[in-house]
């Protein structure tokens, strides 16, 4: 057996239960660390670069939203993140301590009246780029945003 070669091979779906949970301060400086961890997990499982780029943007946008809107009124607020694999998809949960929001109430940035506005595209992009996008209100705790991305076939890499 060549241990070096084995260490470079992606882990299979049947390997150990692989999930990581983080509890971090609600600060912008923390975003690159969290993004790098999530995309590194995907790389370890053999997800192609294009998928990792998609999730990089999704994690980044959701964290920015959580920091700007979720914890802005509370000092020392926290964000909880969970990365995990389920079947052939990589899942992300991001929980903040904010009041939450209804994604259906967000203005559609592709409408003509909104198209040239500078803001309002963050959650729209996450919703459109990922799968199983969901916002869950957590009573007295905040809001959880969940999204996933399935592994593409070899042809799509």
């Amino acid at each position: 057996m060549n241990p070096q070669k084995k260490s470079r091979e992606p882990l299979s779906e049947n390997d150990c239960d692989f999930n990581v949970e983080l509890n971090v301060p609600s600060e912008m400086d923390i975003i690159p660390l969290v993004v790098d961890l999530g995309t590194a997990m995907m790389k370890l499982r053999g997800y192609p670069g294009r998928d990792r780029d998609t999730i990089r943007l999704a994690i980044h946008e959701t964290l920015v939203n959580a920091i700007q809107h979720g914890g802005s009124t509370k000092p020392d607020s926290r964000i909880r993140i969970r990365f995990y694999f389920k079947r052939s998809s990589f899942y992300t949960d991001i929980e903040d301590e904010g009041a939450g929001f209804d994604p259906d109430s967000l203005a559609d940035p592709t409408c003509p009246e909104n198209l040239m506005k500078p803001g309002g595209r963050g959650i729209f992009l996450v919703r459109n780029l990922t799968e199983n996008f969901k916002i869950t209100c957590l009573p007295k705790r905040g809001v959880r945003v969940t999204f996933s991305l399935g592994r593409k076939s070899e042809d799509e890499k």
């Binding site: 943007l57 920015v64 592709t110 198209l115 803001g119 729209f124």
Partner: protein
């Protein structure tokens, strides 16, 4: 993010490299556009060929740049949208409002 400013046939080309994200690039781009407007420059080509990552704030800043220049009767066009960036402009339908080019000479000649 880095911005290099050069001129070709009366068109100011901003070669942007790195990431255009919230707090890292969006403010610099806004300042650069405002400086060009102050210098009466009205033909601006944003070269995004070497942009490795852009978020919604970066996209928003490009939109803001466009509206700022249009208010001053100028034109802003985009050069070299890499596949990931083009995807974002397509999803947000901004691809319908920006003139985009793959070739610099064609872009410059279009002004």
């Amino acid at each position: 993010m880095k911005i290099k400013n050069r001129e070709r046939n009366g068109v100011t080309i901003l070669d942007i490299s790195g990431e255009i994200t919230i707090g890292q690039g969006d403010v610099e781009l806004r300042k650069e556009i405002n400086d060009l407007i102050d210098k009466d420059i009205r033909k601006i080509l944003l070269n995004l060929t070497r942009v490795s990552f852009i978020d919604s704030s970066g996209i928003g800043e490009i939109v803001r740049s466009m509206t700022t220049i249009q208010k001053h009767n100028g034109h802003l066009k985009l050069l070299g949208l890499e596949a990931k960036v083009r995807d974002l402009f397509t999803i947000t339908r901004l691809i319908t409002v920006f003139e985009t080019f793959e070739n610099e000479k064609e872009a410059v000649d279009s002004f």
